[in-house]
Subunit: 694 residues, 2 copies
Amino acid sequence: MVTSTRASRSLPWRSATAIPVRDARPWQAERNTTTRRIPLAKPAPTVPWGDFRPKAFVGEVVPFRITAFREGHDLIGVQLRLTSPTGDVSLHRLRSLADGFDRWETSVTLLEQGLWHFRFEAFADDFATWEHAAGLKIAAGVDTALMRETGARLFDRAAAERSRPAAQRRALKAAAERLRDPGTDDAAALEIVHDESISSYFHERPLTALMTLGDEHDLLVERERAGVGAWYEFFPRSEGARRLKDGTIKSGTFRTAAKRLPAVAGMGFQVLYLPPIHPIGTLNRKGRNNTLDPRPEDPGSPWAIGSAAGGHDAVHPDLGTLADFRAFVRAARAEGIEVALDLALQAAPDHPWVKEHPEWFTTLPDGSIAYAENPPKKYQDIYPINFDNDPDGIRAEVLRIVRHWIAQGVKVFRVDNPHTKPLQFWEWLISTVNAENPDVVFLAEAFTRPAPLQSLAAAGFQQSYTYFTWRNTKTELEEFLDGLAHETADFLRPNLFVNTPDILTEYLQFGGRPAYRIRAAIAATAAPTYGVYAGYELYENVARPGSEENIDNEKYEYKLRDWEGAVDRGDSLAPFLTRLNEIRREHPALRQLRNLSIHWSDDDAILVYAKHLDAALAPDGRSDTVIVVVNTDPHSVRETMVHLDTSVWGVPPGDTYEVEDLLTGARWHWADHNYVRLDAFTEPVHILHVKEPR
Amino acid sequence: MVTSTRASRSLPWRSATAIPVRDARPWQAERNTTTRRIPLAKPAPTVPWGDFRPKAFVGEVVPFRITAFREGHDLIGVQLRLTSPTGDVSLHRLRSLADGFDRWETSVTLLEQGLWHFRFEAFADDFATWEHAAGLKIAAGVDTALMRETGARLFDRAAAERSRPAAQRRALKAAAERLRDPGTDDAAALEIVHDESISSYFHERPLTALMTLGDEHDLLVERERAGVGAWYEFFPRSEGARRLKDGTIKSGTFRTAAKRLPAVAGMGFQVLYLPPIHPIGTLNRKGRNNTLDPRPEDPGSPWAIGSAAGGHDAVHPDLGTLADFRAFVRAARAEGIEVALDLALQAAPDHPWVKEHPEWFTTLPDGSIAYAENPPKKYQDIYPINFDNDPDGIRAEVLRIVRHWIAQGVKVFRVDNPHTKPLQFWEWLISTVNAENPDVVFLAEAFTRPAPLQSLAAAGFQQSYTYFTWRNTKTELEEFLDGLAHETADFLRPNLFVNTPDILTEYLQFGGRPAYRIRAAIAATAAPTYGVYAGYELYENVARPGSEENIDNEKYEYKLRDWEGAVDRGDSLAPFLTRLNEIRREHPALRQLRNLSIHWSDDDAILVYAKHLDAALAPDGRSDTVIVVVNTDPHSVRETMVHLDTSVWGVPPGDTYEVEDLLTGARWHWADHNYVRLDAFTEPVHILHVKEPR
């Protein structure tokens, strides 16, 4: 049943709804109207922020939707014409959602990276119209002869199509004869109307009339890591740092940090993000806890980039050489880990740019250069860039820097504060870099209002930090996760970092160890990309008073941590994170974004969601369903009923099925209403795999 | 403060936010990005159904909205550049809605019919940025000298603009000197920062940088009657019909029907819609109550159009001649009433088309022509048109018919069942007719699903019947009215008919006389266009059993009614309808669509909404506010508190103001929380006018 224009290799998509490709019928003349013969409106995927391309990633299941309807009572069919980047064309039949809003849908797994094109096509479905009318009218004894002859003519028309298999043509011809045979009574004719094999012939190869072609749209499919990955963040200067006899600390290096790579890989992380690795400014350097009076041995914030030792293209001398960095990248790759660098477009006062290109900054009336500020607050270790004085010069320099790091083996960039730079600049940079190298991924640290956050994603960022850390209650999470999966997924891919060097939420500060398990479990299962900043596994939860960030913030000092000791003492979350990442690897449903459905519980803290992948869309041809039930209150034991729409995973209401808790191995028989007890202190979450009936 | 490029006549708009027109600064080079320097997204008014133009009507207050934001902390300004059909250009400053979503808005009353163009323009507002920073920093003693000099330079820049009034330039120059004067202490400098007159200079004529021009959009402004009107519907054959001695009824004529025009005008109705006035088919004619066995004297349904006496361009001989019809139209016009005709594109079996153009119908395999049907139901008095066999021929014929009636003085058409004809056809017909005559108004009787209903409006219909008759509870009406005013108003104008010959809802059947008052009051006040089908004022509420239409439906027979006797007996709703139409005439807020706000009550049946018009946008320069409080339960007396957001009409929370009930003349002092008692049987609704403080 599945065919395509290209024969002799594997297909670039998976779909349950593929239909044979035929040449499109000639397009009805348009007569200067915007409307076409069969109206098609509100196509998806789409981007609501200007004229941008929607996005997907290799292996993503993408729902394609359109509003299509026809005047009067006659029925229509709708199909999707997909063209892969290498020119493979396929057709996929949409199903009516029958929601009263004339929406149609089909889902396709896209397997080829690059720019796809898609178009919706609608047509009068003469067979379906007849099937509906004949079913009613022959049963009612109205116009039976007419209905039989009308059907016979449709069967004749289909039987005459040489593209149909010979057996099908013979069957259609015989059915036409039977419909016309006066010896066939109406009851027998009605059986032909409802004959499922005949109906399937027409569903696969519809007899189309009034074929209407929609506009062609683009869909950019990026590599899998743009959409799927478990991230870990560490400061390389802390990894292998050690205290000297004089009490000061000797910086870790790329070489010492590389020793921790096997542990990071062992936990199952796939991307390792390093805060800026460049020389750190000495002028106005910040001391511990963001103080203005550093001690000589304080290393400063890595985001205060640039000193006499170099700028954005240089490596901090304490970390080693550029060759050391390349070796680190290679060592990571050997462990299956990609290294992500920080791209923070700002300068310490002693960055080489300041002397060479003062025009890249804002000069004040008193001749000084403007510091970063949020009036009346000032950040005296950082000069922000002024993108308007010499836009061409800045663009060329940033492109040079990005190319430089790509040349060192880096293909993932975490962009610091992109919302403080022009959106136009990012659109240009990302499209320029991706034109040279489509594998490069940019993650936007856009902790800002929804409009700029979403616009940055729409304009090209492959991933975005989100408001996840500030969505902690059941109702907040329901709305937030549903929005990620169903409102913004066409252009915004969330990276659910559970913490960052800047963010230690009150939930983590005051939620104890359960809070750490709860948040990690949600992040790892609700979205295909999530991240953890080192120290999370040690439950580091003491904030600088009055702030939402860690006390003794690693941004301003080295952190010496005893990773292995914590594991040995049973004081580490690492085994739990390791298991979460294993579960993610074993369950393809968790590596999708748009397949999340919210379910219900009677408790105001028990959050329930499921992720389901249909067999026809799955990599191994087997369906996969994971149900997550979380107690979002880290301080209590909760008992409640959960209520599931089991039809999402194909189980009729009331039927039972077996589930296995992937964390504990416990197995239960579940139905649509189930009892749960979640003890925040011992077992705050169930991650349940729905076992397929054997 | 208000100027425009055209000097010597009245302006084609009203606005509280107009600013002087200056030449736009050169547009920043685009560098091949979709994003411009300051992102502009999600403009409104807009149409979500394909590439159609949003609509407004002459005198309509249109909110223009855009999402605009800038990177970082600097402030922006946004303005709307409006170009009227005759080329008058005006600029209107938008205000930030400060809703966290970076939405900006301004409202303008559009007074000129034709195609307007609008564009949003955003710019860095250097004064506003300085005002914000200087206010904080000088107060905090940070960078005071720098802030003062920065401000002085801005004032110098503005003072150098020759377009500013001389007095303003002098004041700015003096302020710059004071800021620079060491004798001015920081407290005095802070006063300059917060000086409202200086701030107003910059608000009126902002110092702009990074000026970014959005795309140009169209907005079609149609004549007032496209959006505002009180409609009445009667069957001319019933008006002046009389019973003969043999018991049969002699048809009314245009001449006898004209005698009722003064009464219709006296009730305050402005549009009189006539069901089809053409010859009625004799083949398969329907009898009383839609029966298949008519008596010889049964007149048949006017929608079964066409007989030997002619088709869609002819007048039913019983009604008179074409000249009689023209006289009727003239007589109506003399009463201030416009006549609307029905456009029902279908044919009785004896319509001349059937012989002359069998290709305009669907011929079945048995050689017969297909009746209209909804399988297994059949409508044997009607052949539907097949628009695909000879689209050009049908288009030419329909255009000929429409032009024919326009030539008789008709400019309003109520289109029967437009959703059973191709959307493409309507877009073509309406745009073709309006290109010749932009005053022609088409009302869509699209009782169908939301997608086709909204698409027909988007594709050109000036007005639409809606789901109003089926929205009867408080919560249904809240959602429905809010949607009309705030979701679809850019392209869909509702005509809230309270009943039709096809619709007698259960609410009216079983709600008694209170139901008739309640529904009329809501229809007349919630939307600027509403309608009443004759008989409503007589509380005709007996349905054909099992149906939602009147028994002895006027579609199939003459109705003899005693209008005046009912009034004399106190059995007519006409006086109430008359008062509603007076209130509509006196209150311009009621002649707007988008100015509705939903308010609250503690009772599950008491619906509360208000319509407000700002003084600057009103025709007489005076603000107008009407609060409607309705008991939607026609069977009970309700007492409750209503809760109002009085800021909508400019009253601070807690302040009192006087209201007058426009139905009873009662006056009360109201605040934001008020007691009401609504007795469905005597006084189911308050229509309260907010008195302006003298």
